[in-house]
C-alpha cells in the first residue's frame, strides 16, 4: 500500500518536472557513443580522441557515452537526438539498425555509423579498409616468422574483423607460401584475461607472429607476447607500439580522429550529403605504421616488397 502511494508520488513528481522542462535553441553539438571502454588503446580510444579534436578544432560542445547492450545503444542514440545533438557517431556496426529506427523520428540529425553498412535517410557509414594495412602486417610477419606459424586473435567475428584476419594471412602467404595460420575469436571485446589465454594457446602451437583485432581484450595478447621469448606482434586500430616496445613490429592503424573530424566539418558547414565514405591506404586514414626501433629486424628485400605492395594498393585506391 505504501509502495503504491509512493509510486503515485514519484509519477506526479515526474509529470510536474517534465512540464517544466525548457527547450532552448542549441548550438551545433556532436556526440559519440562507443560500444565499450575508451581505455582500450585502440578502436574506442581513437574515436574519443577524435571527439576531443572536434571540440578543439571546431569549438563545439561534445558529449560521449558508453553503451554496451542493444537496448542501451538505441536509448543513447534516441537520447542524444532528443537533446538536439546535430551529429551523432555510433562507433561500430552494431549501431546500424538501431540508428535506422531512431533516425525515422529525427530526420534533421546526422547519424554516422563507423564500420557501418549502408546509407538510409540520414544514417551514413564510414568504412575503414583496415584489411589493407593488415595485409602489409601479414607480409612482414610472413617474412620474419621462424616457425612458419602465425596467429590472429579476433574479438567478435564481424565482417571487418574477418576481412582483417584473411588479409593478414594472405599477406603472409604472398611472401612465404609455407605459412600456417591459426585464428581465434574471443566473442568479446573487453576480457583481457581471455585475450591472454587465446594468445598463449596460439604461442603453444608454435605461432611466433601475432596480430589481433580485439580492442581492449587485446591488452592480454600483448602481455602473452611479452612473456614468450621470440614472439612478436602487430597492433591494430591504433599505433600500439607503446604497449610492448620491444615486441611490436608494426601496427595496422586507423586515423579515427582525422576521419571523424572530416565528417564533423562537413556536417557543421552544411555541405554533408549522406553517402558511403570508405577509407583505405590511399586516403592516409588507414596506414601501416612500423615500429622504427625494430626496423633493423627487417631484411631490406622484405621492406622493399612491402613498400611495393603498399604503392600498388594505394594506386588501386586512387582509381
Amino acid at each position: 500500500m505504501i509502495a503504491a502511494r509512493a509510486l503515485g508520488w514519484v509519477l506526479a513528481g515526474v509529470l510536474l518536472a517534465s512540464c517544466a522542462t525548457r527547450e532552448a535553441p542549441a548550438p551545433f553539438r556532436v556526440a559519440l557513443i562507443t560500444p565499450g571502454s575508451i581505455a582500450d588503446a585502440a578502436w574506442n580510444s581513437g574515436a574519443f580522441t577524435g571527439l576531443g579534436q572536434i571540440h578543439d578544432s571546431l569549438g563545439v560542445p561534445i558529449s560521449h557515452v558508453e553503451a554496451r547492450t542493444p537496448a542501451e545503444q538505441e536509448e543513447a542514440l534516441r537520447t542524444y537526438a532528443a537533446q538536439g545533438y546535430d551529429l551523432i557517431f555510433g562507433h561500430g556496426f552494431e549501431f546500424q539498425s538501431p540508428a535506422e529506427r531512431v533516425s525515422a523520428d529525427y530526420p534533421a540529425v546526422v547519424f554516422i555509423i563507423t564500420s557501418g553498412e549502408r546509407v538510409q535517410g540520414n544514417v551514413a557509414p564510414l568504412i575503414f579498409r583496415l584489411s589493407e594495412a593488415s595485409y602489409l602486417a601479414g607480409m612482414v610477419a610472413g617474412g620474419l616468422t621462424k616457425s612458419n606459424v602465425i596467429g590472429f586473435v579476433g574479438g567478435v567475428e564481424l565482417p571487418p574483423v574477418r576481412e582483417a584476419s584473411e588479409a593478414w594471412v594472405a599477406g603472409a602467404r604472398a611472401v612465404n607460401p609455407e605459412v600456417q595460420s591459426r585464428t581465434t575469436y574471443l566473442n568479446n571485446w573487453d576480457d583481457a584475461a581471455l585475450g591472454r589465454e587465446a594468445a598463449r594457446a596460439l604461442i603453444r602451437v608454435g605461432a611466433d607472429m601475432l596480430h589481433h583485432n580485439a580492442d581492449a581484450a587485446a591488452i592480454g595478447v600483448f602481455q602473452a607476447a611479452k612473456e614468450a621469448p621470440g614472439v612478436y606482434l602487430f597492433g591494430a586500430n591504433a599505433d600500439q607500439t607503446e604497449l610492448a616496445p620491444s615486441r611490436v613490429v608494426g601496427s595496422a592503424v586507423i586515423d579515427l580522429p582525422r576521419a571523424l573530424l572530416l565528417v564533423a566539418r562537413e556536417v557543421q558547414s552544411g555541405t554533408f550529403t549522406p553517402r558511403v565514405e570508405s577509407f583505405g591506404l590511399g586516403s592516409g586514414v588507414v596506414q601501416y605504421v612500423p615500429n622504427l626501433a625494430l626496423d633493423s629486424m627487417i631484411p631490406v628485400a622484405l621492406a622493399e616488397r612491402v613498400r611495393a605492395a603498399e604503392d600498388s594498393i594505394r594506386q588501386r585506391d586512387g582509381q
Partner: protein, 353 residues
C-alpha cells in the same frame, strides 16, 4: 510491524549512504558532485521521456527477475542463475518471433511470451533435478549454467539462428506482429504492465494463499515445516525455483519482443545479478520490488546521463549499487545481533519476523 519499519529504515539508509558516498567520491576525484547528481536525476526522472524510456523500460527485467529471486528465496532456495534463464527465454522467444510470419498479433505476442517462460523454466529444470535427486546446491548449478547460456547464445547467433545474410552475429529480426506494443506516447512496452501484474499476483500468493504461507514456513524453518507434516518441501522448492526461472525467461522474452527485436550476444547488462540487489533491498516483498526495481533502473539510467552530460564514467554507479547492498547486509547483521542480545537479556522472543 516494528521489524518491518526497521527494515524499511535500513533500506532507505542504505540508499542514502550509497548516494552520499557517490557524492563524496566524485567530489574527492575533482568532479562537480552537484552537477553529477543533477545529471543523474535528470537522466532518470528529469523528463517524461527519460522516466518512461530509460528508467521504467530498464525496470521491467529487474522487477521480473527480482520477483523470481524473491519467490525462490522465500522457500529458502537461491537462484543465482537468472542471467542464464533470461538468455534461455530470449533464445526461445526470438526463435518463435522470427518464425511467426503471418500470425496475428494476438497469437504471436502470447506465443513469444510463453516461449520465454518455457525457455526459462527448462533452463531451471536441470538445477532442480540435480538438487532434488543428488543434493547439488542450486547456488552452484544455477550460477554455472549462466556461462553455458551465454555460450549458447553466442553459438546461436553465429550458427543456427544467424541472420540470413550470415554476416552479423545476431538473429534475424522478429516479425512485426511479435513486437510488444508501446504504451501511448512512450518508448515503454507493455511488458511493464505485465511486470506490475506479476508483482500483484505474487503479493496475493505470499499474503493470502495457504501455499504462500507454507513456502515461507519452509524457507524460515525447513525442519520444523517438514516435521509438522503439512509441507512437502521438495515439491514446493521445485515449484518455487521453476517459477523463478519462468519469470527470468519472461524477462528475456520481453527484452527481445519489446526492445531489441532480435537476439544478440550481449542482450543483458547483468540484469540477473542486479535484480538480486533489487529483491534484497525490497526485503523480498513483491510490491516493494516494483519500487526498488525502479530505483535501481533509475540509477543505471542516470549513470548514462552522468557520463553524457557531466563526463563521469558510468561505472561509478555500479559501485553505488554495491555499497547499497553492503550497507543493507551490515544493517541486518547489526539488527540481528541487537535482537539476540535482547532475547538473552529478557529471556523472551519479541517481535521476530
Amino acid at each position: 510491524m516494528r521489524s518491518s519499519i526497521r527494515a524499511l529504515g535500513t533500506s532507505l539508509l542504505a540508499l542514502a549512504v550509497g548516494l552520499l558516498l557517490l557524492a563524496v567520491g566524485l567530489h574527492l576525484a575533482g568532479y562537480d558532485a552537484g552537477a553529477a547528481l543533477a545529471a543523474l536525476w535528470d537522466g532518470a526522472f528529469g523528463s517524461w521521456r527519460a522516466f518512461t524510456g530509460a528508467t521504467l523500460l530498464r525496470s521491467v527485467p529487474l522487477i521480473l527477475i527480482g520477483l523470481g529471486f524473491a519467490l525462490a528465496l522465500r522457500g529458502g532456495a537461491l537462484n543465482i542463475g537468472a542471467e542464464g534463464q533470461f538468455y534461455a527465454g530470449a533464445i526461445a522467444a526470438a526463435w518463435v518471433g522470427v518464425h511467426a510470419g503471418g500470425w496475428a498479433p494476438w497469437i504471436a505476442l502470447p506465443s513469444v511470451a510463453l516461449a520465454g517462460i518455457v525457455g526459462g523454466t527448462m533452463w531451471m529444470a536441470l538445477p532442480v533435478v540435480l538438487k532434488l535427486r543428488f543434493g547439488v546446491l542450486e547456488v552452484i548449478s544455477t550460477l554455472l549454467l549462466n556461462f553455458v547460456a551465454e555460450a549458447l547464445v553466442s553459438w546461436m547467433v553465429q550458427g543456427p539462428m544467424q541472420e540470413p545474410s550470415g554476416i552479423y552475429p545476431q538473429s534475424a529480426p522478429i516479425v512485426e506482429a511479435a513486437r510488444l506494443p508501446m504504451l501511448p506516447g512512450t518508448r515503454l512496452h507493455l511488458g511493464f504492465v505485465a511486470a506490475l501484474i506479476a508483482a500483484s499476483i505474487l503479493t496475493w500468493i505470499f499474503a493470502r494463499t495457504w501455499w504462500g504461507f507454507r513456502l515461507r514456513a519452509l524457507g524460515e524453518g525447513p525442519r520444523a515445516a517438514e516435521v509438522s507434516g503439512r509441507v512437502r518441501g521438495n515439491r514446493m522448492i521445485a515449484v518455487a525455483l521453476l517459477g523463478s526461472g519462468a519469470l527470468a525467461g519472461l524477462a528475456g522474452a520481453f527484452e527481445v519482443s519489446g526492445v531489441s527485436y532480435a537476439l544478440y550476444q550481449n542482450l543483458s547488462p547483468g540484469y540477473g545479478f542486479t535484480a538480486i540487489g533489487v529483491a534484497l533491498l525490497a526485503r523480498l516483498k513483491p510490491s516493494a520490488i516494483v519500487l526498488t526495481g525502479i530505483v535501481f533502473a533509475a540509477l543505471e539510467a542516470g549513470a548514462g546521463a552522468m557520463q553524457r552530460d557531466a563526463g563521469i564514467p558510468a561505472v561509478t554507479v555500479y559501485v553505488v549499487e554495491g555499497v547499497i547492498i553492503l550497507v543493507l547486509l551490515l544493517g541486518d547483521a547489526a539488527a540481528r545481533r541487537g535482537l539476540r542480545r535482547q532475547v538473552v537479556a529478557t529471556g523472551a522472543v519479541d517481535g521476530i519476523a
